[in-house]
């Protein structure tokens, strides 16, 4: 509360009459234009209030005369990107893989589209950037159940594995637990372990060989365990294994095999996106 206006001895100016614990304030009046600028900003804010969305209501809000909204901005931006993108995606759908790869800009667009589609659709099973996990193939390595060429990968993504599509890739391994005796099962397990590169000491090699031959394992897995991507026969002579590399896991897989499935993506993704995914998966490190 202003009390007494005094003249300050040092500056020769009046005080405002305000005093706080003995501290007094000099009256240095602001220039009027400063006040006018303040008033102008207030008027400006009224205009802003009228033109732009400004006041919340129970079931909506005051939209403002310009009809502007952040959502509208986003929709416009999305539409603009969509227009730009559709041109590229049409090209990707029409061109063969090698030509897309040769076109640096188009290839980059495809990889970006593939990366995003992968994160949205594939990542739940295959992991971020195709890391993979037990039962879900890693995509960056050099081991392919169904082949790692562009055409192979594209077909796998399009029709899936053991999916409900008529053209799906499919393979089946019998449950040898019901066929083989326990010692035969042990012996063939040790045979597979040897193919893995981790032979079991004191294994019955002769019996293992015999069971591997008689059970016709080589028909799918190859006589040296090299696998057969034509019919989805997993490679055994490798350090990469889908269902584990320890002896118990191998034995369980022979006795009662697990076989994963992958949906057919042509029902959800357009051909250009599937091609982009193919290009993306191919460059993760294992493309053939």
């Amino acid at each position: 509360m202003p009390t007494k206006i005094e003249k300050d001895i040092i500056s020769g100016q009046d005080t405002t009459g305000h005093e706080w614990d003995g501290v007094k304030e000099l009256n240095r009046p602001l220039p009027k234009w400063w006040l006018y600028v303040y008033i102008a900003t207030v008027i400006y804010s009224v205009g802003q209030f009228v033109i732009y969305p400004s006041w919340p209501g129970i079931s909506g809000y005051l939209h403002g005369t310009a009809g502007w909204s952040q959502r509208g901005d986003v929709e416009q931006a999305v539409a603009a990107v969509g227009r730009q993108r559709s041109g590229y995606m049409d090209k990707i759908a029409a061109m063969p893989f090698d030509q897309i790869r040769a076109d640096g800009q188009l290839y980059n667009v495809a990889l970006t589209a593939g990366r995003i589609a992968f994160a949205n659709n594939c990542q739940p099973c295959h992991g971020a950037n195709g890391t993979g996990s037990l039962g879900y193939p890693a995509l960056g390595d050099d081991v392919w159940l169904w082949g790692g060429s562009y055409g192979d990968v594209q077909k796998t993504i399009t029709y899936g594995i053991r999916s409900d599509h008529a053209d799906t890739r499919t393979s089946q391994m019998p449950a040898f637990g019901a066929v083989l005796k326990p010692d035969e099962l042990d012996a063939v397990t040790d045979h597979v372990m040897a193919l893995y590169g981790t032979p079991t000491p004191g294994a019955n090699v002769a019996l293992g060989n015999k069971v591997f031959e008689e059970s016709n394992c080589a028909a799918c897995h190859g006589d040296k365990g090299q696998g057969n991507p034509e019919q989805g026969g997993p490679r055994l002579a490798s350090k990469v294994h889908l269902y584990g590399a320890d002896r118990a896991s191998v034995r369980a897989q022979i006795a009662n095999p697990r076989m994963g499935m992958m949906p057919a993506w042509n029902t959800r993704l357009d051909p250009a996106t599937i091609k982009s995914l193919t290009l993306y998966v191919h460059q993760l490190g294992g493309g053939q």
Binding site: P31, K32, G286
Partner: protein, 489 residues
């Protein structure tokens, strides 16, 4: 209307009766023309500053084919800053930081030695205000003529002078705003585009913006900018001490002031008011050092004319220090004290920053290498049992020519490299060409079959060598894999 207490309202009314307000009308300043050595120095600095500002963007500098040939160019869209033969990239921004620190400390040093020299001579606000005042004087006449016209009735004479003045101001303001743009785009190109209406929208927006600010700040706001908007006058007092030279009225010599014709004891000041009339901020220097004073010294020239006419010694108003004034008032001899803890600290800080910057700049690498490890997967095991790590590598080429880089890797025995997109057979040495002035970005796959992985991470060292100059840089990375069984975490 806000309710206020009866006592407050009474106090308010009382204040208003006494002419005390919270807001004051601006007191118009009509600075009078002045001649003299200070004014000449101020003109010379003004011409130099404006010439540099307007002409510099037109200076050409050959950097070779396909590269900008403007001596100073801040290319925002391409993220390059060209300064004669120096080219800076966004990651060199700390040179700008260093320059700003030097500028700030330099300003402190100059202020502690000579007061607000910056404000009085080189601040853009002062320079353009001075230029605008000169135009005003040429069109509307000097102080008295202007005051008379502004006080008198509106006539054709007043109108054409005002219109001409504002047109001239706007013309210069436009030239100023346009010159600003030329520091950010090729000057001849942007000028051509501007007038053919094909320039980018920001060019027009910023030209308009800086035209408007120049016109308003130099034409209308003037000393109000220094007094009310600029923070520097508010804290520059912290750099001043009793040994700083500032524009000073020697009151021990001038007081008691008074007309020579009136009898009584007299100082040298005849109270003619010449110093007040020429002041661009409208203050009376005889009141001592004050916030509004920009230390331009025009009052010195004005006072010296009067002193010369009256055959009194010059420099009643001069540049001097508070300490000297006190000593002179006692009749003592004075010597300048340049070396003070304050000035030495400022000069020392400035030297340190300058040396650090110069050394950093002289030894800055022209090539850079960085490798960012893939976040997922951390590593991939391949069928032969080896481990593979993926990296995004960036190869920076600031050499001014196309560079052929040779990349080798060490730290992990038998490590082999391959570029993911090119897919050549793994090799222990890669050769990558990066075009001039660009950053090459590639995905690099490193494969190895280390016997032990320890806790799951081995140090990996990349080396990049510029085959032309032999300059090489190393980069320390990590090679990841599964931890050995039994390794402690």
């Amino acid at each position: 209307m806000a309710r206020i207490s009866k006592a407050d309202r009474e106090a308010q009314l009382r204040n208003e009766e006494e002419g005390l307000h919270l807001y004051a009308n601006r007191v118009r300043v009509y600075p009078k023309e002045v001649h003299g050595p200070v004014r000449r120095a101020k003109w010379a600095i003004l011409v130099a500053c404006l010439t540099i500002y307007y002409a510099l963007p037109w200076l050409r500098w050959d950097r070779g084919p396909g590269r900008p040939n403007q001596a100073i160019l801040l290319d925002i869209s391409r993220e390059r800053f060209y300064f004669f033969n120096v080219e800076l990239w966004p990651q060199d921004i700390y040179y700008l930081t260093g320059m700003l620190i030097m500028a700030a400390v330099g300003l402190f040093l100059v202020t502690s030695l000579f007061g607000r020299l910056w404000c009085g001579y080189t601040c853009p606000q002062t320079v353009w205000t001075d230029l605008f005042m000169w135009i005003e004087r040429k069109i509307e006449g000097d102080r008295n003529a202007r005051m008379k016209r502004d006080a008198g009735p509106v006539s054709l004479d007043v109108i054409w002078r005002k219109v001409t003045k504002h047109a001239a101001w706007l013309g210069i303001a436009f030239w100023t705003g346009g010159a600003w743009i030329m520091y950010y785009a090729d000057a001849p190109t942007v000028t051509r585009e501007f007038w053919s209406g094909t320039a980018a929208k920001p060019v027009y927006v910023f030209t308009f913006l800086f035209t408007a600010t120049t016109y308003v700040l130099a034409g209308w706001a003037r000393e109000q900018v220094c007094t009310y908007m600029c923070p520097w006058p508010r804290f520059q007092a912290a750099m001043l001490d009793e040994q700083s030279y500032t524009t000073t009225y020697q009151s021990w010599r001038g007081e008691p002031r008074g007309k020579a014709s009136v009898a009584g004891p007299k100082g040298d000041c005849v109270d003619c008011g010449a110093c007040v009339m020429v002041c661009p901020t409208g203050i009376d220097i005889r009141d001592g050092s004050q916030l509004e004073c920009i230390n331009c010294g025009l009052c010195i020239d004005a006072c010296n004319h009067v002193m010369a006419r009256l055959d009194r010694p010059a420099a009643l108003i001069t540049w001097d220090t508070l300490a000297h004034q006190a000593a002179k008032a006692r009749g003592e001899e004075v010597t300048p004290r340049w070396l003070r803890p304050r000035t030495m600290i400022y000069a020392g800080a400035m030297s340190v920053v300058m040396i650090v910057m110069l050394v950093a700049f002289a030894t800055r690498p022209l090539i850079e290498f960085a490798a960012q490890h893939d976040r997922a997967p951390l590593f991939v095991r391949t069928s032969d049992g080896s481990l593979r790590n993926g990296y995004t590598i960036k190869l920076v080429n600031k050499t001014g020519r196309d560079a052929v880089f040779e990349i080798t890797v060490g730290g992990v025995a038998g490590a082999q490299m391959a570029l993911a997109e090119a897919g050549p057979a793994p090799a222990d040495k890669l050769t990558i060409t990066v075009p001039v002035d660009e950053v090459g970005t590639h995905r690099l796959l490193v494969s190895a079959q280390p016997e032990r992985m320890g806790e799951g991470s081995l140090p990996l060292v990349f080396n990049m060598r510029d085959t032309a100059s032999g300059e090489s840089v190393t980069y320390n990375a990590q090679f990841l894999g599964p931890a050995d069984r039994g390794a402690t975490r």
